[in-house]
């Protein structure tokens, strides 16, 4: 499945590059409105067409890639930075009260879908991209905590860990020096998958108005704006949607490819 890995990496890099390039250059300025040029179908000048304000859709998608990637990446970061230590801690104290406490806490968070967390946060603090990051990030915590604990538990049974314990290392040092490097691959693979889920979640949240607010460009908002225009100018709805599909597809292929490539023995169940 090397082909999947390469295709996934190419698609992902394409969007990351688009997002980075958008900091210095976009084909058109999306801040200025150009109403006479509104809803143009894709053509030589605007290769993906223009929206209802005459803004260039390619430029909007490049700016939107920035929002999507930033939100999803930070959300994965939150999930990993909190979930992984919790999982390591639970595994180091397996069977003890703290293990039970952490795992029950995870179950509890699992009962709150990320959409529901976003609704709760928005109802109290108002909408914004930061809320989307927090909501998706909280949702990611139990994912990483469970995965880490599960992988760490089986490592704790291994002889090289026993050797480390005999040599007098504390369970904190063992977790950090021996367990962590051995689960790093697993984390990278799961991180890629959570990244792709984060892109989808960010799009959904900004579509219903709970994510990034205008004037920040985001794929979900572009789709929300396009909804009433679908019959007049289908490309306004098609283009941002295609961007989401390609980016998520790319990340999924990358995740699957990395899993097979990094460690063929570790078959992680996709959630």
């Amino acid at each position: 499945m090397k082909r999947g890995l390469i295709l996934g990496a190419v698609l992902t890099l394409m969007f990351v590059a688009a997002a980075l390039v958008s900091f210095v250059w976009t084909p058109f300025d999306i801040e200025s409105l150009d109403i006479p040029n509104k809803l143009h179908a894709p053509n030589a000048k605007n290769i993906l067409g223009t929206d209802h304000f005459g803004r260039d859709i390619l430029s909007m998608i490049m700016m939107g890639a920035r929002t999507s990637i930033a939100v999803a990446l930070l959300a994965v970061g939150i999930g990993m930075c909190i979930g992984m230590p919790l999982g390591l801690w639970a595994a180091a104290r397996r069977g003890a009260f703290i293990d039970e406490f952490i795992m029950r806490g995870n179950d509890l968070i699992f009962a709150f879908p990320s959409l529901v967390i976003a609704i709760l946060i928005t109802a109290v603090f108002g909408a914004g991209a930061v809320n989307a990051i927090i909501a998706i990030g909280i949702f990611n915590i139990p994912v990483f905590a469970r995965l880490t604990r599960g992988a760490a538990l089986s490592l704790w049974e291994r002889d090289f860990i026993l050797a480390a314990r005999v040599s007098g290392k504390s369970s904190f040092r063992i977790s950090y020096e021996h367990i962590l490097p051995n689960i790093a691959n697993l984390m990278i693979v799961q991180g890629t998958i959570q990244f792709s889920l984060g892109i989808l979640a960010e799009a959904a949240l900004s579509y219903i108005g709970l994510g990034a607010q205008p004037p920040t460009a985001s794929w979900g908002r572009m789709l929300a704006d396009a909804q009433t225009l679908v019959s007049l100018a289908p490309h306004v709805a098609l283009m941002p949607g295609m961007a989401i599909v390609l980016m998520v597809l790319g990340l999924n292929l990358l995740g699957d490819g990395l899993r097979d490539w990094l460690d063929p023995r570790m078959r992680v169940a996709r959630t």
Binding site: P113, L115, T122, A203, A204
Partner: protein, 315 residues
Amino acid sequence: MIRYALSRLISLTLSLIVASMVIFAVIEVIPGDPASFMLGVNAREDTLAALRAEMGLDQPLHVRYVDWVWGMLRGDFGNSWTYKTPVADMIADRVWVSLPLALYALILSTLLAFPAGIYAASRRGRIGDTAVMSATQLGVAIPNFWFAMIMVLIFAINLRWFSAGGFPGWDRGFWGGMKALTLPAISLALPQAAILARVMRSSLLDMLGEDFIRTARAKGLSKRQALWRHAVRNALIPVLTIIGLQFSFLLAGGIIIEQVFFLPGLGRLIFQAISARDLIVVESVVMLLVFVVIVVNFAVDLAYAAVDPRLRTQA
């Protein structure tokens, strides 16, 4: 089995209590004073005091929490702050859109995923398998609300087979209601079906490697007979868990799809409540959604233990 069920029941109750505390804390404690939150910064002190008394906010926190929970147990969710009508009635009206939508989507997703997963597993490594797996790879990458918009464009605007949105109400006939929910249910079901088909396939492939399948084959059953008589039934166990998880996801995910089709479900209710700062409605709907997730997971755990006695020991 009874001991296992009891221990699960205790953990279910604990989860519900903690979840309700979290929701109560986020909605009623963190914003500070809900009365001034509703009336804005320029409200007069006597108006605020009157509203606080009306909403019962002059009571201490633990009294308010216990009142809230006790009320919910009796089916009383309090009155909406903006509409002054019972929240329970508002929810009851909307649930009859959101719940059928989630069930409809769940049925569609299962009907689509089972044959696809079984077919892919029986053709492992061949072109049929690759085709199904590629389709599911695409299916999980498509945002359901975008798929919904595309379907509106094709089936409502161009072909005019369905209306683009809205809901006629069940009192205007069962089939009219089902028709209005069809496009939303399909768009909600598709990504879930893709996930379910993948789980079905990998679970079946695990089973096909088991000894009892080899025994069945040695006994003279054809590959197809062994698959249908022995593998499929055993492969259903993990699939059951995913279906349970998906139901709660479909109910929550329906909130987004309802926006695409302008359906008067829980999603519409919750967004109206957010913009009107009607926090008690938000609180009740969120509690209801979380309640459903927790109870469904509990039911799945029990069903799981009922079909697989090995799981009962690990309470």
